[in-house]
């Protein structure tokens, strides 16, 4: 038994690095695959990666451009079911392995800092949970780490000095701001590690380091002066870490500082003989650091609520309306975007009028998102307008979304929607412009090629399930769009398309959510054009409510297509509402999903 235990222990001791790596890989993969997959699905179409030589040259011609290019290239794979988690795993493991190799360079091969080598990767894994942090930042750090390893691998001091002088500008142009990590690391290596081992070199040693530092300081200034006139801080940091280029990527800077700092610690601690008790403390500290990085990073950067909304967005983009409704049934975040998507899904599945009050509503924002001068409200908000047939408004929102992109770049998502609208509106030259761009993207080229076959073919477009439908739904008479007057626009649309069920239900729902009973009653008759057997339940409730204010006879003898069951429920509601002071509590259980309850208590 003991022999078996010993064997197991020695097996673990021999392969513990592989086991830890496996555990880390499983953690990372699981984190993205099961924790935040929809954030990756959301991120992917918000970029426009073109597979062309021109785009490559244009990308790599800026400081850090190669990191950005690679970041965009790999981000494309997020569109695949396992693509995102696998891509992130690849780069995070690469960072860990490079960190470990570097740790070995400054200490002995089997030193006690293997656990610590996971820290940058783990931290970066959590950083990327915030959607504004870019994969290109991670790639930039990896490139800088490759540079550091290359540098420390050179044994000859003179060759190494020359390599340093060449590598600083190279890494700056290839990886951007992570050249700071490289510069600090080689400085630490020279001053702490190399100088300790060989103190014979003096004058030339300091001169070389000074020269390295001079290059590192002057290079971005030179770059902004002659290549790209960006602000000073941006010239040093570069824009490949955070989508908003003016944001200082402090969490990434911590990694730039951690690596050289860790080199000092490992060199001083790692090369000494360590006693067993000290070893326990050492490993304990590493585990604690990993825990802090992992848990702290999660708390700081991860946003499960946003992930849930992105899940809604994913299913809306894929027009899986049933799934959106079932998600809302499970949990509906109190958030305008989620409610907006839910109502859209209800409308698309012919349930809006029936089940509007089955879910927590948020007023008119839940139906039509106003443009808030930022990307999300515009990009997500366009979906409702598009589906209802207000394609020009959808186009406007997508334009605004494109111009509000935090990274100032274009996206496949907006180009696809702009193509939709251009085709629906018969602007084929314009549509072709977008199509030619999309044809250069590896994952959207098939869609673009297919769309191209529709250009100038009116019949084919009219028979297209989406474009043809939108042509039949869009308004005929012009109006000036303002979200404040959306009811007037829907009324005009209903005048043009009297049988436009979605427009009718949105209009009525709009009045109900605004508690505008007068307008509701004024236009509820428009529903006759849709030939309902019975009015949708929420509308029945609203009509009955108004009639009940007049008399019981009015309720009983009305000409509206209303079910008897709704009338019975109304009587029960009235009985409780009028008799009990704590009616709100009593009605909550059975009537919280009715218009009456919403009207009185929400």
């Amino acid at each position: 038994m003991k022999i078996q235990q010993n064997e197991r222990f020695s097996h673990f001791k021999k392969y513990y690095k592989q086991y830890l790596l496996l555990l880390f890989s499983l953690l990372v993969f699981g984190y993205w695959q099961f924790g935040f997959p929809y954030m990756l699905f959301f991120q992917e179409p918000l970029q426009l990666f073109l597979c062309s030589f021109d785009y490559f040259i244009k990308s790599v011609s800026t400081a850090g451009g190669l990191a950005r290019y690679l970041g965009e290239f790999f981000t494309q794979f997020y569109v695949l079911p396992l693509g995102g988690p696998l891509v992130l795993l690849l780069w995070l493991v690469a960072l860990q392995q490079l960190t470990w190799l570097l740790f070995q360079k400054v200490s002995f091969k089997d030193n006690h800092f293997y656990l610590l080598s996971f820290l940058p990767s783990l931290w970066y894994c959590t950083i990327l949970s915030e959607e504004f942090y870019l994969l290109s930042g991670l790639i930039s750090v990896v490139i800088a780490m490759v540079g550091v390893l290359l540098y420390v691998s050179i044994k000859n001091f003179k060759v190494r000095s020359l390599a340093g002088i060449l590598l600083i500008p190279l890494i700056y142009f290839v990886a951007g701001g992570s050249y700071i990590l490289f510069t600090l690391s080689i400085f630490v290596y020279e001053v702490v590690v190399f100088r300790k081992r060989d103190i014979a070199i003096r004058g030339i040693f300091w001169l070389c380091l000074l020269f390295d530092f001079l290059i590192a300081i002057v290079l971005p200034l030179f770059y902004r002066m002659y290549f790209d006139p960006v602000p000073v801080l941006q010239a040093y940091i570069t824009e490949h870490f955070h989508k908003i280029s003016t944001v200082f990527p402090f969490p990434v800077v911590l990694i730039w500082l951690f690596v050289p700092f860790a080199l000092i610690v490992i060199f001083w601690v790692g090369n000494e003989e360590i006693k067993k008790t000290k070893k326990i403390v050492l490993y304990g500290v590493q585990v604690l650091l990993l825990f802090l990085a992992g848990y702290g990073g999660y708390i700081f950067f991860a946003n499960p609520k946003a992930e849930y909304i992105k899940k809604f967005d994913y299913y809306v983009r894929h027009e899986n309306w049933e799934k959106v409704v079932s998600l809302a049934k499970k949990k509906l975040p109190r958030n305008g975007f989620a409610v907006n998507y839910l109502n859209l899904a209800l409308a698309k599945t012919n349930q809006l009028g029936d089940r509007l009050f089955r879910f927590e509503q948020m007023g008119k924002v839940g139906l039509f998102l106003p443009y808030e001068r930022e990307m999300l409200s515009a990009m997500l908000g366009n979906e409702t307008y598009y589906q209802i047939g207000l394609v020009n408004v959808s186009q406007q929102y997508v334009f605004e979304a494109t111009e509000s992109m935090p990274d100032l770049r274009k996206s496949t998502r907006s180009l696809k929607r702009l193509t939709d609208v251009a085709i629906i509106n018969g602007q084929y030259e314009l549509a072709n412009k977008y199509i030619q761009l999309l044809k250069k993207t590896p994952f959207y080229k098939n869609w673009a090629k297919e769309a191209e076959t529709y250009l100038y073919h009116e019949d084919k477009i009219n028979n297209h399930p989406d474009w043809g439908e939108k042509r039949r739904l869009r308004p005929l008479q012009d109006y000036f769009f303002s979200v404040e007057n959306i009811d007037q626009i829907l009324l005009a649309l209903l005048q043009d398309r009297p049988q436009h069920k979605m427009a009718y239900e949105y209009l009525m729902s709009y009045y109900l959510l605004n508690k505008d009973i007068t307008s509701f009653m004024e236009y509820v008759d428009l529903g006759y054009n849709i030939h309902y057997k019975y009015l949708p339940v929420a509308f029945q409730e609203a009509v009955l409510y108004v009639l009940a204010l007049k008399s019981r006879e009015a309720v009983e003898n009305n000409n509206f297509p209303i079910e008897d069951a709704t009338k019975d429920r109304l009587y029960r509601y009235i009985a409780i509402y009028t008799q009990y002071p704590n009616a709100r509590e009593l009605l909550k259980k059975d009537f919280s999903h009715t218009f009456w309850y919403y009207y009185h208590y929400k």
């Binding site: 006139p229 602000p231 020009n392 406007q396 605004e400 314009l430 412009k433 308004p475 109006y479 769009f481």
Partner: protein, 499 residues
């Protein structure tokens, strides 16, 4: 022995060079004698067939719209012949050779004969031609690049393009000044020595460059309802005429015209550059009329502008029709005349005119005619017209116009070239077009601003706004402009009541 070895090596190198050059050079005439003749002209983009170009224009690179594996292009004229071979269907003329061809053919017609290869067969198209004018165009073209949008923008920039090649230089952009909108760059008489541009939102103000001095001013004064807007330099450089506009946008729900810009209110003022003060006159600053788009005559004695009776917007949108008016201007004393002449009456025309620009010889006013309003950018019917100040007649510049918007025109310093914006290609993106106009005001077929890559326009998602021609490059660096713009709030302009 060594000698023979060297000989052998040299011979090998020579053979290799021959092979390499036979692939790269490709200027050798292929077997074209039995080429199949199409009997029609080729369709190329951009369309350069029949255009007139200045002799100092960049190469007119183009793309053959038919598919092919290779191209052979023969450029011929009375002065000789040049042959070029290209792989695939894009034609890139070498800049030096192109320059030589144009300088040899000033005042002459140049023919382009295209042979395309498909399979093993060569096919020949009928020749197309362009005319090389003896009149040069100003070297630099300044424009703003901005994505056509609605209310929001994030990337924009003002750039200057050397028209004799493909070099483009930054003047100022939103990377160097994040969050700042920049617009309405104007120059005095096509000179880069006096210019201005407005900045809005972050670090707002007006940047004025004159006498090698860069300054920032604040133009909102209590006497006006807003900051200075559209501008025009007096030829002396002492004054700048501004219109002050209150602009709003409306968005259409139906159709291809997605938006309109409305001038809710506008007046005009004149800025004295030295005194940093504004002055005006009730004639150009009337509450009963909207005056806009000022323009001085080349002798500086007349101020042209457009004016419409005031209206309630947006309901009166289609009733707003602008006339072309003028008023005299005394440069010495900075005095605006006391009589307004109406040169083109909107009432008579039942149309609106906008953006008057006088030709350098003072004979013509080029302007945009549109159904209503004074912002032609969104009116597809907006076309360029020429008003003859000698004969007092207006005529359409048919050769320049299309079914979509033409506007924002600018004369070259010699008056023979006009650059203007047009949405004719796809109805959304504004492109720059260059057209020749002779001394009698007769226009010739214009051409699209040449780009190095003929496919450039296929994927370019920005509009070129406000094309302005200048003779030489701007001498101020983007950093210097940004420094002046960001370091101070700017001098507050005053209002001078003594005029």
């Amino acid at each position: 022995m060594v000698y023979f070895k060297r000989c052998k090596r040299t011979k090998r190198k020579f053979t290799l060079m021959v092979i390499v050059f036979s692939f790269i050079g490709c200027n050798k005439l292929p077997q074209l004698s039995d080429a199949y003749e199409f009997g029609h002209s080729p369709e190329i983009f951009p369309d350069y067939d029949g255009v007139t170009v200045p002799y100092n224009i960049a190469p007119l690179n183009f793309e053959l719209m038919d598919s092919c594996q290779a191209l052979f292009v023969k450029i011929s004229s009375a002065k000789g012949e040049n042959n070029f071979s290209f792989r695939k269907k894009k034609v890139y003329f070498p800049e030096k050779k192109w320059k030589k061809i144009l300088s040899e053919n000033k005042g002459d017609t140049v023919f382009i004969t295209i042979y395309s290869k498909k399979g093993d067969k060569w096919r020949k198209y009928n020749p197309i031609h362009f005319f090389v004018s003896k009149d040069s165009i100003d070297r630099m073209l300044v424009y703003r690049k901005i994505m056509p949008g609605y209310q929001t923008w994030n990337t924009m920039g003002i750039y200057e393009r050397d028209l004799s090649n493909f070099k483009e230089k930054l003047v100022l952009n939103s990377e160097i000044m994040p969050g700042t909108c920049m617009n309405c760059h104007t120059f005095r008489n096509n000179e880069p020595d006096s210019w201005l541009l407005h900045l809005r939102e972050n670090f707002g103000g007006t940047i004025i460059f004159t006498n090698d001095n860069l300054k920032k001013i604040q133009t909102k004064i209590p006497q006006t309802f807003g900051s200075a807007g559209f501008s025009y330099w007096h030829p002396s450089g002492k004054y700048i005429a501004f219109s002050i506009n209150k602009i709003t946008q409306i968005f259409h729900g139906v159709g291809k015209v997605r938006a309109h810009a409305l001038d809710m209110k506008s007046d005009m003022v004149i800025y004295d550059v030295e005194k940093n003060s504004f002055f005006t006159s009730p004639l150009i600053n009337s509450p009963d009329a909207f005056e806009a788009f000022p323009c001085f005559s080349p002798n500086g004695k007349t101020l042209y502008y457009v004016s419409s009776p005031a209206g309630e917007l947006p309901q009166d949108q289609r009733k707003m029709k602008y006339s072309l008016c003028s008023v005299s201007f005394d440069e010495q004393n900075g005095i605006i005349g006391n009589k307004v002449d109406t040169l083109i009456s909107a009432k008579m025309l039942n149309k609106s005119v906008s953006i008057p620009r006088v030709s350098p010889d003072g004979r013509f006013i080029m302007l945009t005619q549109l159904d209503y309003g004074n912002f032609p950018a969104y009116n597809p019917e907006a076309d360029l017209y020429l008003y003859d100040l000698k004969e007092h007649k207006m005529r359409a510049l048919d050769a320049f116009n299309s079914n979509d918007v033409e506007s924002w025109h600018c004369w070259s310093s010699n008056g023979r070239w006009v650059v203007f914006s047009s949405r004719r290609r796809d109805g959304l993106f504004m492109d720059v077009w260059i057209g020749y106009i002779d001394q009698n005001g007769a226009p010739r077929k214009p051409f699209l601003l040449p780009q190095k890559d003929p496919e450039f326009y296929d994927s370019f998602l920005f509009s070129f706004n406000l094309p302005e021609l200048i003779k030489e490059p701007i001498s101020v660096s983007p950093h210097r402009i940004a420094k002046v713009a960001t370091k101070s709030k700017g001098q507050q302009a005053e209002f001078d009541t003594s005029h």
